[in-house]
């Protein structure tokens, strides 16, 4: 980190005002149009040479700075009373943080809040406005502490707080910067979910609070009116007494307050209708709808008191009427003691007042759910970056193979795959059945590096459209679909443009700016700033300029970009059914990129340091951090290569890396620690391959099996060609181990290994054969045993029998060469993890071939009416033998896999019918050692 610190000061030697430690690492969002289709002639990323040697030789050295032992999540608040303070950490274990100064770090992370938190009276409305701010995401580093953090700022509403807002932030703190940079998108996703959950709870709580307040005010109002009436009756002489004037003022205050609160209520309900600019911000539609309807109900209720004069009548009887109507009648009765002074309390600084805790701000359920979600997040990000990354690569690749994944890969977790498939599942604290997915247009995060030329010419039309759209929006009404911060800004601009200087907010635009600063030297930087300042009056122009500028900024490559590109590609390729990303959304984003958001008006709660930020802000780029991002951690678009090739290479690269750090027995500590927890949620069935560790163990025993038995190849062939294999033995442990080992080769073994029965001690039936493809059978010397032998011989045509005790295998003869590669008993592979990768690559290749077979029309159906089934058959055989070079028995493997793919593709997930069981009539031979 010292390196990066030096880099910062070297880059901006003149910046004396710079605050020392928080090295803000800028992320910006690349607009969609930068997504040029990959040049087919360029080398796919996975083939590029990794630039490892340039990085420091000891990859662990830098993390030793950190004063904490492992990554954690920190939630902090900028309290209006005491300033930034940490609230809680996840995991909630003091050991995790060690000597790390949470207070100090809270100050750091709260000081980079770029949210456009404008509060106060706008000149036009006269009422206090709620600021609707999208969350902001920032990565910052603290080189002294050796800490890097993904920081997610959010704002919650509190009626009693200054400006009604309470700024919070959640930070993922890690010692490894790269880890955060590379996981930025996922982090952002998870934290957005958490944030949305908190906010959903908060909006409800806020609406409730408002309701209570309004009730109080109404009551007070009616009391005051009564008093005034009494005074009026008392006579004209008292009309002008000081007391009466005071009363009248109070009454006016209350009325004003009622108006204000009613307006707040209107605002909060408009909050739900507003379109979100933040592409990550997806909330449960049902929750939103519920909350919206609640708010509207309230609005209806309080809209009755339309004018204060009608209210003066209504107020008297309205009290009784309200009692009937109000949801919280009890409260109404309980709190008649409220006085109008309470409203003044808002503007007064009340340091003696107790601020609501986070739990109180949000609904308890929502709070709990959020904490749970964060805990899960923390768990899923545990472990070394390279492990996390390999896993992600693996997932990305598997998503490419949706049709054949079921054969040898475990299903991707639905939730996960949904997330990364470009659809966001809102996290819902109250567990609404979640069918309300929202299409995610993932922002393209670009790490600011040297600019690379990339033409935008491919989408000029689109950009134009975007411009027009944005212009139209800007010219349109404030209450148009534009997001709040945009509208806020518009309002504020009218107020004062001086304040814009120094303020720096909003997730992307700010970062975008930062990026630009980095790419140009400080002097033009100032210019840009000036431009921006002036341009805040004329946004269209700015937007236009920015458009021009972004062109050169867009291209730096990072994994995230590539990953999202991948996503986008995949969306194009695979998600033909789903709707393409809404262009409106992106135009909107583009338009806003040009805006400079101003924040922190006089009432702003955010940190003063913001003012200095524009000058001091630097983009800290750990020099060597850039290098690996470009090459070895990226997943190339697979469309450029054959699927098999695309799969193999990364597997090998990372496989080696992993196995180097892994323990001798093939279980890799770091990896399994993370995967174990990661997949703990997924249902682990009996005999199911749940974790990587188990798989590696299984691979280890497969390796042993392959070395031990010369006919292992035949056994594997049976499994792959769909012939049920019965492992017969007296020793349960041995049989179970062998079954677990061979499960790797059972195609479509099912999520929890449903097609595998590890240990059976009763005679099996035909139904069992249909259900299970691999059976561990107990050898018993008893009447039961004899009936078992009977069933074995009866169904011998359908099964192959591997006798563990006598070391024999009875199965049809296999003479193919396809499996010689993975079942070579003289193999040099020693480690289970290596062997697992070897198996996986082979099986993956097989699956790809089977896919080709299954989806090639002319191999199954006649191309002309003159052809009979025999011609098709001949053609298929020709394809298998000559083009794929497979002999008879090897062809059976492909035919079986192809059949499975066809069935899987055709079959809706749940059919009433039993699966078909295919076999063929061939003689078996007995293999012995």
């Amino acid at each position: 980190m010292t390196v990066s610190g030096a880099a910062v000061s070297n880059a901006f030697p003149g910046n004396t005002t710079m605050i020392g430690s928080p090295d803000v690492v800028a992320f910006t969002r690349e607009d969609e149009y930068g997504l040029a289709s990959p040049d087919p002639s360029t080398l796919p990323e996975e083939f590029s040479v990794p630039l490892h040697p340039l990085a420091d030789p000891n990859p662990w050295a830098k993390t030793s700075y950190a004063k904490f032992t492992k990554d954690f999540i920190l939630i902090s608040e900028f309290s209006e009373q005491v300033g930034p303070q940490p609230l809680l950490t996840i995991p909630d274990d003091p050991k995790v943080c060690g000597t790390f100064d949470l207070n100090y770090f809270s100050l750091r992370i709260m000081s980079v809040d770029y949210q456009a938190s404008f509060v106060g009276h706008t000149p036009g409305s006269g009422y206090p406005r709620l600021s609707f701010v999208e969350d902001s995401r920032v990565v910052l580093g603290d080189s002294k502490e050796g800490a890097f953090a993904y920081v997610h700022h959010l704002t919650l509403y509190d009626l009693e707080a200054r400006g009604f807002v309470r700024p919070f932030c959640m930070a993922y703190v890690a010692a490894d910067e790269k880890k955060i940079m590379l996981q930025f998108q996922e982090l952002s996703l998870r934290f957005s979910q958490a944030s949305e959950c908190l906010k959903a709870g908060n909006r409800r709580a806020f609406a409730k609070e408002l309701q209570r307040k309004l009730q109080d005010l109404e009551y007070t109002h009616s009391v005051l009116q009564k008093e005034e009436g009494i005074q009026r009756e008392a006579g004209p002489q008292s009309m002008y007494s000081a007391h009466a004037v005071e009363k009248a003022n109070e009454l006016a205050n209350v009325e004003k307050s009622i108006y204000e609160h009613r307006d707040l209520l209107k605002q909060i309900s408009s909050y739900h209708r507003r379109q979100r600019r933040d592409p990550y911000a997806v909330s449960c539609q049902k929750c939103v709808a519920e909350c919206l309807s609640e708010c509207e109900e309230l609005l209806d209720k309080y809209a009755k008191l339309a004018s204060p004069f009608s209210y003066s009548q209504k107020g008297l009887m309205g009290e009784g009427g309200d009692d009937g109507e109000g949801e919280e009648d009890g409260d109404n009765e309980d709190k008649p003691s409220y006085t109008p002074q309470l409203i003044k309390g808002k503007s007064a600084k009340c340091f003696d007042k107790r601020l609501k805790t986070l739990q109180e701000l949000c609904d308890e359920t929502f709070y709990e759910a959020t904490v749970e979600l964060l805990k899960e997040t923390e768990k899923s990000f545990r472990g070394e970056l390279c492990c996390l990354h390999t896993r992600r690569l693996d997932r990305a690749l598997r998503r490419k193979h949706k049709v054949v994944n079921f054969l040898f890969e475990e299903d991707l977790d639905d939730h996960e795959s949904e997330d990364e498939a470009g659809r966001l599942r809102p996290f819902c604290a109250v567990n609404h059945s979640i069918d309300n997915c929202v299409q995610l247009v993932p922002p393209h995060i670009v790490l600011a590096t040297e600019a690379v030329d990339m033409s935008q010419a491919e989408h000029p039309g689109l950009v134009d459209v975007a411009f027009e759209a944005s212009a139209a929006q800007e010219l349109g009404a404030v209450e148009s679909y534009l997001e709040s911060s945009a509208s806020d800004q518009t309002l504020e601009t009218q107020e004062s443009s001086e304040e814009t200087k120094g303020s720096f907010s909003s997730d992307r635009s700010g970062v975008d700016q930062a990026e630009k600063r980095e790419s140009s030297d400080p002097t033009p930087d100032q210019n840009t700033d000036m431009e921006r300042e002036s341009s805040s009056d004329d946004m269209e122009t700015t937007a236009g300029e920015d458009e021009g500028e972004t062109e050169e900024d867009r291209t730096p490559v990072s994994l995230l970009e590539v990953a999202s590109e991948l996503d986008a590609c995949k969306e194009d390729e695979c998600e033909l059914v789903s709707e393409p990303p809404v262009p409106l959304d992106s135009t909107c984003c583009i338009a806003q990129e040009g805006f400079l958001y101003e924040a922190s008006g006089p009432h702003a709660v955010s940190c003063r340091e913001h003012v200095e930020l524009p000058e001091t802000l630097v983009v800290n780029q750990e020099p060597h951090a850039l290098l690996p991002l470009q090459g070895d951690y990226t997943v190339g678009s697979l469309s450029s290569g054959s699927p098999a090739a695309g799969l193999e290479l990364p597997v090998e690269i990372f496989g080696d890396a992993v196995s180097q750090t892994s323990a001798e027995d093939g279980s890799d500590c770091t990896m399994s620690a993370s995967t174990g927890s990661d997949r703990a949620a997924s249902p682990v069935g009996f005999g199911g391959m749940a974790t990587l560790r188990e798989k590696k163990k299984a691979a280890q025993s497969t390796l042993r099996f392959v070395r031990q038995y010369p006919f292992s190849m035949q056994a594997l062939w049976c499994l792959l060609s769909g012939r049920t294999l019965v492992v017969l033995g007296a020793d349960e442990g041995r049989v179970r181990r062998l079954v677990a080992a061979l499960t790797l080769f059972v195609p479509a073994a099912g999520k929890c290994g449903e097609r595998v029965q590890a240990w059976l001690s009763c005679p099996f039936t035909l139904t069992d054969l249909q259900r299970w493809k691999l059976i561990g059978l107990q050898r018993i010397a008893s009447p039961v045993g004899s009936s078992m032998i009977h069933s074995l011989s009866r169904y011998s045509r359908y099964i192959s029998i591997l006798d563990v005790d006598q070391k024999t295998l009875r199965c049809p003869p296999y003479r193919g060469r396809l499996l010689a590669n993975i079942a070579d008993h003289r193999t040099f592979i020693r480690r289970g993890s290596t062997y697992l990768l070897h198996i996986q690559s082979t099986l993956c290749r097989l699956a790809a071939k089977a896919f080709l077979l299954a989806f090639t029309h002319h191999l199954h159906l006649p191309v002309s009416s003159t052809e009979g089934p025999e011609d098709v058959e001949a053609r298929r055989r020709c394809f298998l033998q000559e083009q794929l070079g497979l002999d008879e028995e090897d062809s059976q493997i492909l035919l079986h896999l192809g059949r499975l793919i066809t069935q899987q593709y055709l079959q809706p997930p749940s059919t009433a019918a039993a699966p078909a069981f295919s076999f063929n009539y061939t003689t078996s031979v007995l293999y012995k050692i």
Binding site: L766, T767, R794, R797, T902, S918, S924
Partner: protein
């Protein structure tokens, strides 16, 4: 008494003696390479009825009737209503409506009409005097006949039209329709011919016309062969061909398996065969051939040459329960031993080889001697007798295979005492069909 001595060649008989007739696992001509186990019954499944091209109904001792889609293996309907085992089931298509319904009879002395499309019980008659043992649909007349201790004629809406009382202890065990509105009913050892008279006001009356009592033992099977012939088989192995119009006995065959082993072994074996070994369990025909399940053996009778075409005494390890002629040369049988076997009638490969070591005798009845005892006796060798060669077997059931229904190239359904049905299919054809469906779906989806 004329006899059949069926033995066969040395090799063959040795195979038979050991009781293991196996063709091994190499069965290139067996096209049933895919199976689906259909579960749903809780007791022995005894009956299978084809409803239409793709549906069949199964019924058994659990009183359940299940309707299956044999293309997908789905269970379409579950017809519940009978309290006890099903004793008879037919698919009944009244010519007027052209809608196929199911009529079931149960030991609970009720008969029901079901709609297999909706699964509803459309009609039901309960509290019959006795349980119905057999059913016959007269589709032309929109009537159906139930046979038990009494013989009843019903209209399609379950109105009793005619009742014929008491047929001895055993009652009517089998019913067939004969030309000119006649019925033949098997009652113990006799075949009773009835005439069905339909009067103008749709009154129906049954008149007993003739009682054919040529069989020496209980009649087990009664089938129509063609418009002119019907056949019956008895527990004692007698196969009689009857004229369908004037009910004369055209041919009497008494099938008795006997070993023709020389030497000491034959002495030991020279004992009267147990009746079950020669009981005719099932008869089937395709118009040219009659296939009889005799004990655990198969017997093919050629109607044109009025002689045995082929036979195999030990076709199964245990009694054959149901047979089917797939074509002129292929047939299928299922047995209590749990297997289904596919046979081919093959010419003997070498003329030099003794055609048959067995003997068989026939009584040939001339038309003039309708009743009574055999007139002539001759022992003949049939050098042109062909052999039954096993070309495939289907192993799957763990209990006696009670019955099967063939849907041609769409597959075969077998039902068994192990409570299961198995749907056997041609794997090649199925995979072709699936590929077709796959590309259709691809096209519909516009890609993957």
């Amino acid at each position: 008494m004329l006899r059949w001595f069926l033995g066969g060649r040395e090799a063959q008989s040795s195979v038979e003696r050991s009781g293991v007739l196996s063709i091994g696992e190499e069965q290139p001509r067996n096209c049933f390479t895919e199976l689906q186990v259909l579960k749903g019954h809780f007791d022995i499944v005894r009956f299978l009825v084809q409803i239409d091209d793709f549906r069949c109904a199964s019924a058994g001792d659990d009183g359940l009737v299940l309707v299956w889609n044999i293309e997908t293996g789905e269970r379409l309907q579950e017809l519940r209503g009978h309290a006890q085992q099903i004793t008879a089931i037919i698919a009944f298509t009244c010519e007027a409506s052209a809608h196929t319904a199911l009529i079931t009879a149960s030991s609970d002395r009720s008969v029901s009409l079901w709609d297999p499309d909706s699964g509803n019980r459309v009609q039901t008659v309960s509290d019959l005097q006795s349980s119905v043992k057999c059913l016959l649909g007269l589709e032309r007349l929109c009537l159906w006949v139930s046979g038990g201790e009494e013989l009843c004629v019903w209209s399609k809406d379950f109105q009793l039209r005619c009742l014929h009382q008491k047929h001895g202890d055993s009652g009517v065990t089998a019913l067939i329709e004969l030309p000119k509105n006649h019925l033949a009913a098997a009652v113990d050892r006799e075949i009773v011919i009835y005439r069905l008279t339909l009067s103008e006001d749709s009154d129906v009356s049954l008149t007993k016309i003739r009682c054919l009592s040529d069989h020496r033992d209980q009649i087990r099977a009664l089938i129509n062969v063609n418009d002119r012939l019907f056949a019956s088989g008895s527990h004692a192995g007698e196969l009689i061909l009857w004229d369908a119009v004037d009910w004369n006995n055209l041919k009497y065959e008494h099938i008795l398996w006997e070993e023709s082993q020389p030497g000491a072994q034959s002495e030991i074996r020279m004992k009267a065969p147990r009746p079950s070994e020669m009981s005719i369990q099932h008869l089937t025909t395709n118009g040219q051939l009659i296939l009889a399940a005799v004990g655990s053996g198969l017997y093919v009778y050629d109607l044109q040459s009025k002689s045995v075409a082929a036979y195999r005494k030990a076709a199964h390890d245990s009694n054959v329960l149901h047979t089917l002629l797939l074509s002129d040369s292929e047939l299928m049988s299922c047995s209590e031993d749990g297997s289904v076997r596919i046979w081919e009638i093959q010419d003997l490969p070498l003329p030099a080889e003794p055609a048959s070591a067995g003997f068989f005798g026939t009584w040939t009845f001339s038309r003039s001697h309708k009743q009574s005892a055999p007139q002539s006796k001759k022992v003949t060798d049939f050098p042109n007798t062909r052999k039954l060669e096993l070309i495939g077997d289907l192993i799957g059931h763990s209990g006696a295979v009670q019955m099967f229904v063939s849907f041609g190239e769409d597959g075969l359904v077998t039902c068994s005492a192990d409570h299961l049905l198995i749907l056997w299919k041609d794997g090649e054809r199925q995979s072709r069909l699936r590929s077709q469906a796959l590309f259709q779906k691809l096209e519909e989806n516009g890609g993957l």
